[in-house]
């Protein structure tokens, strides 16, 4: 009886596991298999079971540039999101309760709007004849429009906009775990507000900043819609390259290989980063 009781949670999680298996493991496995096939213009997709696609990607400077750009965009997006999100979370944390819910709604706002709509909005703002350039030229501050569409910078701006909420929530959660009396203790010992933030609050919130960075980085590295709309064909990132291989070149095996490499690279970064963070903070926060 006791044994059967112990097994019940596993039975109950079966439907969820089946869904997980059907929707994630199966497609992933099939993509993985596909990456070992070969594509020819006249022959189509054939089984080859060799590493030709991987060797193609890893030895071609064209793909190096795309991978480099993708991770550079993800890294800069993460850094900016941390710089904006951390103080934002602290302000939110110090806010009176009734203002807080209002501001929280404003922060989470971008997540409630479809990514395509939001990105097209940025396109209207950032274009050569877009709102920002238009205003700056009418004010006579610039002669020629600043190029923002189809640049990595434009992609970073739009990605930061949508990913900052993830950072704010992660840091906010970390702030709630700290003893508010530590700030008062620091004040009683003579620390100014600024010193308290940098010496007492920020170090204690660091695990939150780091976990927020992890979320933002992995989301930014695999973002598709934003780079597709704001970068187009000129500023390609890994996910848009995969898309092109599948739908334009019709080289599915190569697209699959690129997708697998992105997955492996992001996972490797996440795992090693996590290990670093754990080692750094095990002694302090446990």
């Amino acid at each position: 009886m006791a044994r059967r009781g112990a097994a019940v949670p596993y039975y109950l999680s079966l439907p969820a596991l089946a869904l997980f298996f059907a929707l994630l493991i199966v497609p992933l496995g099939m993509t993985f298999l596909l990456s070992f096939y070969r594509f020819g213009f006249y022959t189509g997709i054939e089984p080859a079971f060799d590493l030709a696609n991987y060797i193609d990607v890893l030895t071609d400077g064209y793909f190096h540039e795309i991978f480099g750009r993708t991770f550079a965009i993800a890294l800069v997006t993460t850094a900016i999101a941390a710089l904006i999100g951390t103080p934002e979370a602290y302000i939110l944390y110090r806010m009176k309760a009734r203002w807080r819910s209002l501001v929280l709604l404003a922060i989470l706002g971008p997540l409630l709007i479809s990514v395509v709509v939001r990105t097209l909005g940025w396109a209207i703002l950032l274009g050569n004849r877009g709102v920002i350039n238009d205003v700056l030229m009418r004010l006579g501050l610039i002669e020629a429009p600043i190029k923002m569409m189809y640049t990595s910078g434009g992609i970073v701006i739009a990605l930061v906009h949508v990913f900052v909420p993830f950072m704010v929530i992660a840091v906010w959660a970390a702030l709630h775990r700290q003893d508010p009396a530590t700030e008062r203790a620091a004040a009683s010992l003579g620390a100014s507000q600024l010193t308290i933030f940098f010496r007492i609050v920020l170090p204690q919130a660091m695990p939150g900043v780091l976990s927020g960075s992890l979320i933002v980085f992995s989301l930014a590295a695999s973002a598709f819609a934003t780079p597709a709309i704001l970068g187009g064909r000129r500023v390609k990132v890994v996910s848009t390259t995969v898309y092109d291989e599948f739908l334009n070149t019709l080289n599915w095996p190569l697209g699959a290989a690129i997708a697998m490499l992105l997955l492996v690279a992001v996972m490797a970064i996440i795992v090693s980063y996590n290990r670093f963070v754990e080692r750094r903070y095990a002694q302090v926060f446990g």
Partner: protein, 354 residues
Amino acid sequence: MAFLELQRLSKRFGDVVAVDGLDLAVEQGEFVSLLGPSGCGKTTTLQMIAGFEDPTGGEIRIAGRDMANVRANRRGIGIVFQSYALFPHMTVEQNVGFGLEMRKVPAGERAGRVAEALELVRLGGLAARYPRALSGGQQQRVALARALVIKPDLLLLDEPLSNLDAKLREEMQIELRNIQQSTGVTTVLVTHDQTEAMALSDRIAVMHRGHIVQISTPFEAYEFPKSDFVSTFLGKTNLVEAAVEGRDGDMLCLRAGDIALKAPAGEGAEGDRVLLSIRPEKIRFADPAKAVIRGRVKTGVFLGNQWLFQIDSPLGELLVVHQNAGRAEAKAGDEVGLAWEGDQVRVLSGDDHG
């Protein structure tokens, strides 16, 4: 002039009056406790002295200086928090040294003073540890060292011992008292624990509903409580309502029901109804013929070093506490005589009902 002076100090939160026109004067080097139940305003008072809350009214003066426009980080007060509030990301040494660092004390001198402070609280060997790796008692000592190392003019202790277990708490009480006396720092302790307040303080300020209802030495507060609130809050007591019948020399003759009682004359004129307090340890068992009253033992609880009896008597249920002398004096159901000295009875003014 007193070192710390609170004059007509008030604090309201919306409609709630937390502190209501409080007056207190603490002398240099004195150890004063603010004692009261939760919600009596003692913590709010401490927060205002520390500068974390702004008073709604009244003045705070430290060494004659008005604190109204002095921010918390400029008051130079050492504070030990209930949660200790150690900085978890700093070692013990960095925690204790933080206040000196803020005062721009050079690194060499800083290390010396930190070591000295850790020595004072007997934590010399643990300087490199993080707070997480310390026991509650050790964290408490670090918090104390951190507050003392800046050589504060005033030390505030916010329920510093409430998170320790009973045995450790007693040890820390003695140690805290020794450290306070050796450093001579003026100290204000906030606590709801009457034993802690009695063990540590020169004077106890008993607080109730935002006021100080009595301020006196621990002995006086316990032996001569001014009101039933002080009497019941400081230790256990038996309260008996009685009517004043007259005087007999310096003793008051009273009557409760059909029992005649005596108490030292103080307040209370003939015909007044007054409240009497008789401490449970002052009541002894006596030969029923010579006893003041007789009663029946309802329960007898053995607590190791003492016995606690509940006794049904004509004065209502009385609590009696006796030191354990190695034998059971009475058991449930026994008929006993109860006696006490008339001069051990206290007449409470009773103007602080509530």
